[in-house]
């Protein structure tokens, strides 16, 4: 490492690496140099002129955001001259700014408001006519109010650099310059809303949130997005038991500043009008709403009878329920119902990967690794659509650390644009194609390999062998689909394995077999929709379902319990990279209960409470920590909203865990399994696409 440069900022000495910008050096000692256009991680702009600082021996004020430090530099960030300069810059900014703070969505959390409050004049000297442009709607979720815009170009840069989309640009020049979308009047982009989030003023507003409330009126609940497996923290703004918006307010999650359309907007399924709010029991061939008591008694009686009669009971778990719920469900199935027919929708071959890596240390990549490691291989997945956070991390890695990215995929992907090598291959040919990169990869000091569902079973073993043969540290990510797909596997929602990948020593039917089976007596389904697409059940089992909506599966059920969504409960989930994070309850949907509570009440009703154990999330998590290898993580980190990577096994997994069943749904940016159907925002974006 090069020698540190020492300089003085506001009378305090600070040592930073050469090339550091004054604004960053100041931040290091807690001095905030105000700026609109400067945004950490994005290219420099130096357009807003707010960060002007005084540097000794320099004739005029210097822009702190582009000035690299020099040995012995003496910088002052707050002097009367600087305050006057900032005041005048703000005066210029406010000339054409509409000052409609009372109606502006940004009012209360607006950087321009803060800055004017700090430096600005109380009165305006501007008496001319303001330049006005009408507000525009660019997409179902993005509105643009040009007069409010201060042209900091943050949106243009985050879209181009951060997202790799480049949907925004600038038209006209001078005072009539305006941010404009690529298609003149509408956006064709990821609809991620990053531009809205990054906008320091209220120029870009969210179609889902606008004019609904004000920032200080909400409580902000940081929880984990329930859609894909990337485990982004989304902070829900809640008012009167209603989620107003999702954003990444404190940027404290593994996703930092990132959120995609699902994390930002697709919480709206929770108050869809078709949401189930009462238990349903089939009476005379029709599902009728009944009381919780009646439904629980009916379900308990049926389950008890079936168990006592030694009937064949199948259990299908969810890829979105919490670890606690999954753990409790498998315990309920195995101990309470005495069945080993337990499964879930497997979307990535984690089991084979863990087995193949047995004995290796630190071979599972974290989300941060994708940003930090010098080389990334993407195998058979379109990350930008299927795993937007991972894609964002890799792009940032390329931008900031010049990482070499190798894309080996069937179709062109967004990574191609900056990839060191982009190779096309057919769905099974990834490994052969990878072999052609051997020489290049062998020269990399370190490597992260991200692979999709086409690499499974033996292919995973071959991949790991390939990685090991390079003789370099290699880390892996097996891609899975949903928010707790990984957790469902870790918690033993498969016949072959108990929690922590211990062999169960028993066989059992897979989810598909249970659905197709002709002789199943009972089917207990939690938060899954195996009948999606409308295929009928093979036999005539008695079906009990926990669901939020009347899905195909729920319609075929005999008893339906209205379940809470991930935003309505506490617990933990495990992301695609094995990072465990906490869900926090934001709202309560009337009539629903978390799956864990439903299971607990059922257990109590069946008289099994003593056997299966308590059913509060913290108690169950404590049991997981004590019994499941790799889950004994420090509670304070989890409880304060941090993420800890789990290493559930480090040794051979003795049984074959049916890699042939692995199948990803390949949800894109605007779909999310069954859940996506009930999100108005996702549907409106998809519909908008069809119309144009």
């Amino acid at each position: 490492m090069a020698e540190l440069v020492s300089l003085t900022i506001d009378g305090r000495t600070v040592q930073v690496p050469p090339g550091t910008l004054v604004i960053d050096a100041a931040k290091k000692i807690g001095v905030e140099v105000p700026a609109f256009c400067y945004y950490e991680g994005l290219s420099l702009q130096a357009a807003c002129r707010m960060c002007l600082v005084e540097v000794e021996k320099m004739p005029k004020l210097m822009a702190g955001c582009t000035l690299p430090v020099a040995e012995g530099m003496v910088v002052r960030t707050e002097t009367p001259t600087i305050a006057k300069a900032r005041k005048s810059t703000l005066e210029f900014l406010l000339t054409n700014h509409p000052l409609d703070c009372p109606v502006c969505d940004k009012g209360g959390e607006c950087e321009l408001q803060d800055m004017v409050f700090r430096y600005g004049a109380g009165e305006s000297r501007y008496t001319e006519i303001k330049h006005h442009v009408d507000e525009k709607q660019w997409s179902p979720v993005v509105y643009f109010d040009a007069p409010r815009c201060i042209l900091c170009y943050r949106c243009v840069r985050i879209c181009d650099e951060g997202m790799g989309v480049g949907a925004l640009g600038v038209i006209n020049r001078g005072v009539v310059s305006e941010i404009a979308p690529n298609k003149t009047d509408h956006l064709e982009c990821d609809e991620c809303g990053m531009c809205i989030d990054i906008c320091p003023v209220g120029a870009l507003t969210s179609g889902a949130y606008r004019y609904k409330t004000r920032p200080w009126e909400m409580q902000h609940v940081g929880t984990i997005c329930t859609h894909c497996s990337n485990g982004c923290k989304t902070t829900l703004g809640v008012r009167n038991n209603e989620i107003m918006r999702g954003d990444n307010r404190d940027q404290s999650g593994v996703n930092g500043e990132f959120l995609c359309i699902k994390g930002r907007y697709a919480f709206d399924f929770y108050h869809h009008q078709e949401r189930l709010q009462s238990p349903l029991v089939r009476k005379n061939g029709k599902l009728e709403p009944v009381s919780w008591k009646e439904a629980l008694e009916a379900a308990a009686a049926r389950l008890k009878a079936a168990r006592d009669a030694g009937s064949k009971i199948g259990v299908i778990g969810s890829t979105r329920t919490s670890n606690e719920e999954n753990f409790y469900l498998q315990k309920f199935a195995r101990l309470g119902l005495g069945t080993n027919h337990i499964d879930h929708h497997r979307t990535g071959d984690v089991v084979t990967l863990l087995d193949a890596l047995s004995g290796q240390k630190d071979a599972l990549a974290t989300t941060a690794d994708l940003y930090e490691k010098p080389a990334i291989v993407v195998l058979g997945a379109d990350l930008a659509l299927e795993h937007p956070l991972l894609s964002f991390q890799i792009r940032a890695n390329f931008r900031h650390h010049q990482a070499r990215v190798y894309a080996v995929t069937e179709k062109p992907v967004r990574e191609d644009k900056y990839a060191a090598a982009a190779i096309r291959c057919d769905a099974a040919g990834e490994l052969a194609a990878l072999e052609t990169l051997r020489e290049k990869l062998a020269n990399e000091p370190e490597l992260v390999i991200v692979f999709g569902d086409t690499v499974k079973g033996d292919a995973v073993r071959k991949l790991v062998a390939f990685g090991s043969s390079l003789g370099k540290p290699v880390k892996y990510v097996a891609l899975v689909d949903y928010s707790n797909s990984r957790g469902a596997m870790d918690m033993g929602l498969v016949p072959e394995l108990l929690p922590g990948y211990r062999p169960s020593g028993q066989t059992g039917m897979s989810a598909g077999e249970m659905v197709a089976s002709g002789d199943l007596d009972m089917l207990y389904i939690v938060g899954a929709n195996p009948l999606e697409g409308g295929q009928p059940l093979g036999g005539k089992p008695f079906v009990i379902v926990h669901e939020m909506f009347l899905t195909e599966t729920a319609q075929a059920a005999d008893i339906v319990f209205p379940a809470s969504s991930a935003y309505e409960k506490n617990g933990t989930v495990t992301s695609v990279t094995g990072e465990v994070q906490q869900l926090k309850k934001a709202v309560q949907a009337m009539g629903t209960k978390p799956d864990l509570e439903i299971l607990g009440l059922l257990v109590r009703e069946m008289g099994l409470a003593a056997q299966i154990g308590p059913w509060t999330p913290d108690k169950v998590f404590q049991e997981i920590r004590e019994t499941v290898p790799g889950y004994n993580m420090p509670l304070p980190v989890i409880a304060t909203g941090g993420a800890v990577q789990t290493a559930p096994v480090n040794g051979r997994i003795e049984v074959d865990a049916r890699p042939d069943l692995v199948r990803s749904s390949r949800d894109g940016l605007f779909t999310s399994g069954t859940l996506g159907r009930y999100s108005k925002v996702l549907n409106s974006v998809v519909e908008g696409r069809h119309h144009t």
Binding site: L44, A46, A47, C48, R49, L52, K60, L61, A63, T66, A85, S88, T89, E91, F92, L93, T95, N96, R125, Y126, E128, I129, H131, I150, L151, G169, V170, I171, N172, R173, G174, V175, V176, S177, E178
Partner: protein, 443 residues
């Protein structure tokens, strides 16, 4: 083609313009007959350092406006860099009052090409781009013709004059933006992007076109290079004053009997330039204000012009700049408030919109000045105009903001009484609708 726009003056020192007025002056034959492509042959024989040293010895300073020593600029180019190097000619001549580069390209395009080649030889560049102002459409045809001729006759291309020196030359047109005369914005535009300035440092000499080392100079600067190499830097230096060598093409405009472009040695007396070269002010009127080098310079009053000479130091002493050679002479009938408005209209229209002080400041000043001229000014406005211009000065991303602020400050400070006289005018009781076009998107 050979007809000149103005009669030459006997007081001129004709070095760069020596071919002006010759029959077919733009043709390669005429050029060859008058010492053409002699300097490049000489430069190929010389070492690269010698070429740069010769330019340094000539005391040639950039003719675009900033007046940075050209030899020093060339010396900044890292010749050992593995990247290709480029020569870029700034022919985006847009400074109000300046019209010299067009003549150099119109009458003597090969001199420019040869200048680029010498620069290419000095820093190992193999390609040169001439970025021509969009409004100079006809010049592109002239330049393209000259380039084609040079290729045809073996003066451009591979292994020139039997040496290993190769050079290619291209023209590129701007789309009509003053901002693209700023070197880094020009490079952005040349690369096909929006013409906004880049963060400097790094300067183009190190990181220029396509992130490669680039020599970027004004047309006149490049045109001065062949005479320097041909006749020696010292001879060129001797024409001027100690710290600045050679001649300047001075564009005389405004209230003069004989406006035109004249090549005058640096250090030429200002008084003599107006009264003898320019033929004096018509109808015996008196000098009121003087713009020494394009509208970006602080304006001088008649009193301040006393005893000045046309060179960098003399102008700096008078707290203005030699600028781009666009001299504007204003007589005592000139309405300085309208001058201020005219200048500000230009800058408000040409501001690229990148940084806040320039984008909002120029537009605001234009609105105030328009209102003032329309007879609706107030006393506070006069102070406000000066204050806003001061707030722009030195705080903008590129020099365009300074260029708008400097003349405005000088007018408000030096001709404040004219602003006050506007307030006293009672004739304008009904606000006159200004005929100025309102800036609209797309304009």
């Amino acid at each position: 083609m050979t007809k000149l726009y103005n009669e030459p003056s006997p007081l001129e020192t004709r070095v760069l313009t020596k071919r002006f007025g010759l029959p077919n002056s733009a043709s390669l034959d005429t050029y060859l007959a008058t010492d053409g492509y002699v300097a490049i042959r000489k430069a190929i024989e010389m070492t690269q350092d010698d070429v740069i040293n010769e330019v340094k010895a000539s005391n040639l300073r950039g003719r675009g406006g900033a007046g940075f020593p050209t030899g020093m600029k060339w010396g900044f180019v890292p010749r050992s860099s593995p990247k290709p190097k480029y020569i870029v000619v700034n022919a985006d001549e847009s400074e109000p009052g300046t019209c010299k580069d067009r003549l150099l390209m119109e009458y003597d395009p090969h001199q420019l090409i040869e200048g680029m080649m010498i620069a290419g030889r000095a820093v190992d560049a193999k390609a040169g781009y001439i970025y021509i102002r969009g409004e100079y459409r006809y010049l592109i045809d002239i330049m393209d013709k000259a380039i084609a001729e040079a290729y045809q006759r073996g003066y451009l291309g591979k292994n020139l004059f039997g040496s290993d020196f190769s050079f290619d030359c291209y023209t590129h047109t701007g789309a009509g933006a003053y901002e693209c005369g700023e070197e880094s914005a020009l490079l952005e535009s040349l690369e096909g992007k929006r013409g906004v300035p880049r963060i400097r440092p790094p300067f183009p000499a190190v990181v220029g076109a396509w992130q490669c080392p680039t020599i970027l100079n004004n047309v006149e600067t490049f045109c001065a290079v062949p005479p320097i190499i041909r006749d020696g830097g010292a001879a060129f230096a001797a024409l001027g004053v100690p710290k600045a060598g050679g001649t300047r093409l001075t564009c005389l405009s405004g209230h003069l009997n004989k406006p035109g472009v004249y090549e005058l040695a640096l250090g030429f007396p200002l008084d003599k330039m107006i009264n003898e070269v320019g033929g004096g002010i018509p109808n015996g009127r008196k000098l009121k204000a003087f713009i020494p080098g394009g509208s970006s310079c602080p304006i001088l009053t008649a009193a301040e012009c006393e005893g000045l000479t046309m060179d960098y130091d003399s102008m700096a002493n008078a707290k203005t700049m030699l600028g781009s050679g666009g001299v504007v002479v204003m007589d005592d009938t000139t309405d300085m408030v309208k001058v201020a408005l005219r200048i500000m209209r230009f800058y408000a229209h040409e501001s690229c919109g990148w940084c806040i002080p320039c984008r909002e400041g120029t537009a605001w000043l234009r609105k105030i000045l328009t209102r003032f001229v329309d007879g609706m000014g107030t006393k506070q406005d006069i102070n406000l105009i000066g204050d806003l211009a001061h707030n722009m000065l030195g705080r903008t991303f590129c020099p365009l903001g300074d260029a708008a602020a400097l003349p405005t400050i000088s007018i408000v400070e030096k001709f404040r009484d004219e602003f006050e006289a506007y307030l006293a005018r009672t004739t304008v009781s009904i606000p006159v609708q200004s005929d100025l076009p309102v800036l609209q998107p797309g304009m």
